[in-house]
């Protein structure tokens, strides 16, 4: 599903973000990625999302070699993954329903499919009654649920979550990770970058620690059970 082989990334200002980085994540896994600021976590995610290209090495995501991917194929690769951001990145002028439906419009879904699927996904994240609300009327946790619903709506094979609990209070954080755990149980691969060690300790999922551009520690657990 995700394979990094001897990947290095050096930015234009000579900052070395990743150095001979090797990591393999199989289909259906839930992986926490942890590490100090500047350790290379963000670069790791940017490389998966094709926002950056590696300086050397091979990256394979969903069977696609990212070093040889054509620019016009990048949007199609992104559609195979749902992405959840720390700052939610939902569009203020759109209602909750529209924010989620937007991701379906991108893949050319019909209005009928959208009307059927969006309420179902909003139900999964517990926002069925807030479909018509604007983001400004929602709490941080609810905004992140909208982000999660948008990531889920096209049934991706993998969800990449970049510190999804970074901007919400701790009780909400646990709920979000629980929700991700439920999604993972249905077979969706989850890669979650986090700073929150209490969450990592609470949920026994595979944990990869990145430090100085390398994998420093990998618990290597395929699946963990929730406490």
């Amino acid at each position: 599903m995700i394979e990094f082989k001897n990947v290095s990334k050096v930015y234009d200002n000579n900052t070395v973000a990743l150095k001979d980085f090797n990591l393999s994540i199989s289909s259906g896994e839930f992986v926490f990625v942890v590490g100090a600021s500047g350790a290379g976590k963000s670069t790791f995610l940017k490389l998966i999302m094709c926002e950056e290209t590696p300086t050397s090495g091979i990256i394979i995501v969903n069977g696609q070699d990212l070093s040889s991917i054509r620019k016009k194929d990048i949007p199609y690769l992104r559609r195979t993954m749902g992405i959840v951001f720390q700052d939610f990145r939902i569009i203020d002028k759109m209602t909750v329903f529209e924010n989620v439906a937007f991701a379906m419009h991108i893949i050319g879904a019909s209005d009928r499919e959208i009307r059927k699927r969006v309420p179902y996904v909003l139900g999964l994240v517990g926002l069925e009654n807030k479909a018509r609300r604007l983001p400004s009327e929602l709490s941080g946790g609810e905004k992140q649920r909208v982000g999660l619903a948008r990531a889920l709506v096209n049934n991706p094979s993998m969800i990449i979550a970049d510190e999804p609990t970074g901007n919400i209070d701790s009780s909400m954080s646990f709920e979000i990770v629980e929700l991700l755990g439920e999604i993972n149980k249905c077979g969706t691969t989850i890669v979650m970058v986090t700073h929150d060690l209490s969450i990592v300790k609470h949920f026994h999922f595979r944990t990869v620690e990145i430090g100085e551009g390398r994998v420093k520690n990998d618990t290597g657990l395929i699946r963990g059970d929730q406490k």
Partner: protein, 300 residues
Amino acid sequence: MRFSSIKYFIKEGFKNVWVNGMMSLASILVMICCLILTGGAVLLSINISNTLKSIEEQNTITVYLKQEVTSSEAENIGNKIKNIPNVLSCNFYPKEEAVKEYKEMLGALFEVLQEDENPLPDAFHVTMEDLSQYENTVSDINRIDGIEAVSDRSDTAERLTDLNRLVANAGIWVIISLGAVSLFIISNTIKVTMYSRRFEISIMKSVGATNWFIRIPFIIEGMTIGLISAVLSTIILKFAYDELMVVINNIVPFKGIPFDNLIWYVAGGFSIVGILFGLVGGLISISRYLKKEGGDVVAW
């Protein structure tokens, strides 16, 4: 492209005009100012050259025939004059009429002349299409047999031609400069609009939207703003123009072109320019943000 996508693009394009209310309003106002300024300059230039043309048309030269020319020969000469390329009209002016006019003008003074000894020759009143060709046309006329003289108005012709050239040149430069200023202002307005929406563009990219999927609603939005501006500019310009005509007419007798004769040209021209500016402006300014990825588009 699926029908549902086309429907979505059009709906989004129109909706965005409304949702981004203040920015749309700013863009519309800027575009209206630019269209009215440029359109006004075009109308002014058209009116001036139209007035000059009508003065030109009134600028008749008189071609006197020799006394011995018979009426059938005169008719022949008339046809020859009419066949000269630059001649717009050529009307026979018989000596009897000339005498009548002189009598009216001079009264008793003219009575000393006896009617059977009419000293005036038959003549033609000739108008020209292009006064800058005055000299050539007069020499063409002079070459025809049976012509005594041609009244010389080369001074007036030269002055009118110079004025016409000046108006045409100045008009073109005024329109080009105003057009360039308008383009600059409009492209800046679009840049500001895009800057305020870079966040939206970046989200679209991160969830897998292709560049065209992002572009099309922006283009439809730009074109809609252009069209709205064109319609409003036409209405405003009509009222302003009509009012201005009334004011000018109170000062000097001036017969401008009625706006209603021009309304479809103005509306059509404004619509084409407005839509084109919206389209090109949208395409150019969005491409800057489409080249960037996630965090580069906006500092998260």
